[in-house]
Symmetry: C2
Subunit: 373 residues, 2 copies
């Protein structure tokens, strides 16, 4: 890791070394408020996804404002949050392999832990491990339904019912509900396309729920949703738990979604601060933030409040900007990038530099950075 | 970071938890040997790029086999290697900003350090900082020439000569030579295209050298080259230092280069071990290594020795494989991925798990992981 920090609390914004990952605390807090407001008085609860931030300081603030707990994507990620005092975590993933299942059971002995299944072998392995603990742990098990993303998950119907029966037959496992996340709907640009995709997802979730309940198994929780679509899941009458993650930060990709009347506008709160380190030609500038500073899996970053600049190419530690000369760009000039995708960008840093009123207010460790086991 | 390691020395290959970054030590050592062999008896020296591995254990082995030192891409990265005992480092980058220049001077007080310039303001800032040390540091300064990548660098001619004059006028700076790296030539698939690109780069480097030497400034070193092209720079009669990085590991992108008669074949030595955690349909399997486990900036990973499997989509912690049913893929099956691009993939991990003969032989810290200041 970097042998020194890019900044210390009290430093001015201009003094933060680059590249650095910055959180605009005012915008972040307004985003938290907007999400609380969006679910107030509704029959849904919030379980934000911590894979976006990997930062206990943020999880604790989400819970302080009403979240029931968090989601994690990996067992080792969940372990970091349990260590930080979070007591209710849904691991939104299948957990496969003896080592991982042993770790899950250790976590479930000290916190409420949920995991997903979409195959009988997963249920058998979890049941055996939980039974070996002889009542000392309770594990929440959710069936993942494929509601449109075609990644993991079973279709509603026979396979889903069979999994519920298998879980129900294990005294050591608790059937908690259905995981119905439609990931690929989150970035459909057109609001109608997102609404249509989630209407279909909700219909699949409802079918799965009814099929399982018809066999006598209560489906307590139907959980899913992301930042791009959560108002539709909220209003669906079938989802009762929402998992948005990116709303606290936002990114260039989410910023390109067109918003409809039902959508909530969140503010860009996450930035990569960068410096122009080379100005080789009149139409080109090179900054010190490349693909090890801002993940490019969802496209290049944009340059905040500089529509005259386009970040066109990233190599490991260089970013090439094309300029149209509308405004000069000086050697040494500091710019703010909006990452293409917030989650993997945060995962490149050990520290989130929290700024307010032009000053560094705090350094928050990205404690679960790299926790991918 | 992950609160436990994916493996311990002595563990069997099958027991390594996933996803994990694996180094095949036999293949790695053969790659080191092949590079030594490729420059034996030639009038070039090797200064491998450490941005690929960020691992002092590897740098020390490169130097033990004849490398004169290493390249780094960032000041904080160089600091990690200086701490580990490396005494000769070329930072192949412009160093801009007071904080970074102060750090460079601290490193130059204890090790031989080189940096690049492509603008008079950079020379002025370095000269002022070095002069303030009053002879206590010597800094090697290289002029970056744009030899075809159109990223940083000046064209041969007037601007390059002017920079040499500026450096030559500063008693506190040592003009060391020219940095002539053609990055975009490395992955041209066709060997003739690579040869042609480097012939042109060498011509530009020669022109720049002659122009500067005509003014009375000796150009000691012409440094550049990468894994895709280094035999051409080696044979150019103008380059006398080579900077390949990826040859120790290789990746899917380099593996797709077609090799010509002059090229050296390196072996794939770097892998991301992964587990099938979901098998939702007959033609789809989902593994536990997504884009936080294997960087996708240069495309998806491939599946080692499984041409029947295609990794078609990466999300944060999921990888979707399409299968053609030629061979079964079982839930829980372990597979080895060849990363699309080795450098940013290594930068996702804290530990390189070194394997030989089916056993974990060592864990090497990726000590400069995330060091991007």
């Amino acid at each position: 890791m970097t042998p020194w920090n890019a900044a210390q609390p009290g430093d001015s914004h201009a003094d933060i070394d680059t590249p650095a990952l910055l959180l605009d605390l005012d915008a972040f807090e307004r985003n938290l408020d907007r999400m609380s407001e969006a679910i107030k008085g509704r029959s849904v609860r919030l379980r934000p996804h911590a894979k976006s931030h990997k930062c206990p300081e943020i999880a604790l603030r989400q819970i302080a404002r009403g979240a029931v707990g968090i989601c994690c994507q990996k067992v080792s990620e969940a372990a970091v949050f349990v260590d930080a005092g979070i007591t209710d975590i849904l691991i939104t993933n299948q957990v496969v392999g003896a080592v991982k299942i042993r770790r899950v059971m250790e976590l479930a002995a000290v916190a409420r832990i949920g995991v997903l299944v979409d195959h009988p072998l997963q249920v058998q392995a979890l049941a055996a491990a939980a039974a070996a603990k002889a009542g000392a742990v309770a594990l929440d098990v959710y069936i993942e339904i494929d509601v449109g993303s075609h990644r993991c998950g079973v279709a509603p119907g026979e396979d889903a019912v069979h999994l519920a029966e298998l879980i129900g037959a294990c005294a050591s496992l608790r059937f908690a509900g259905l995981h119905c996340y439609h990931g690929s709907a989150q970035h459909l640009r057109d609001p109608m396309s997102r609404a249509t995709a989630i209407a279909k997802a909700a219909e699949l979730a409802r079918t799965a729920k009814q099929g399982i309940e018809a066999k006598g198994y209560a489906v307590d929780i139907v959980t899913g949703a992301g930042t791009g679509t959560f108002t539709h899941e909220r209003d669906s009458d079938v989802y009762n738990e929402l998992q948005p993650g990116s709303y606290i930060f936002m990114d260039r990709d989410y910023g390109e979604n067109l918003l409809g009347a039902d959508d909530i506008r969140f503010e860009q709160a996450l930035f990569v601060k960068t410096t122009v380190m080379s100005r080789p030609t009149a139409d080109r500038a090179v900054v010190d933030a490349g693909l090890k500073a801002s993940s490019v899996d969802s496209g290049m970053p944009s340059v905040w409040q500089r529509s005259d600049l386009r970040y066109t190419n990233a190599s490991d530690e260089h970013g090439v900007l094309t300029t149209d000369n509308a405004r000069p760009v000086a050697m040494g000039e500091q710019l703010m990038l909006v990452p293409g995708h917030c989650d993997p960008t945060v995962n490149l840093y050990d520290t989130l530099i929290c700024v307010r009123n032009g000053k560094v207010e705090a350094l928050w460790p990205v404690a679960a950075r790299g926790a991918n086991l």
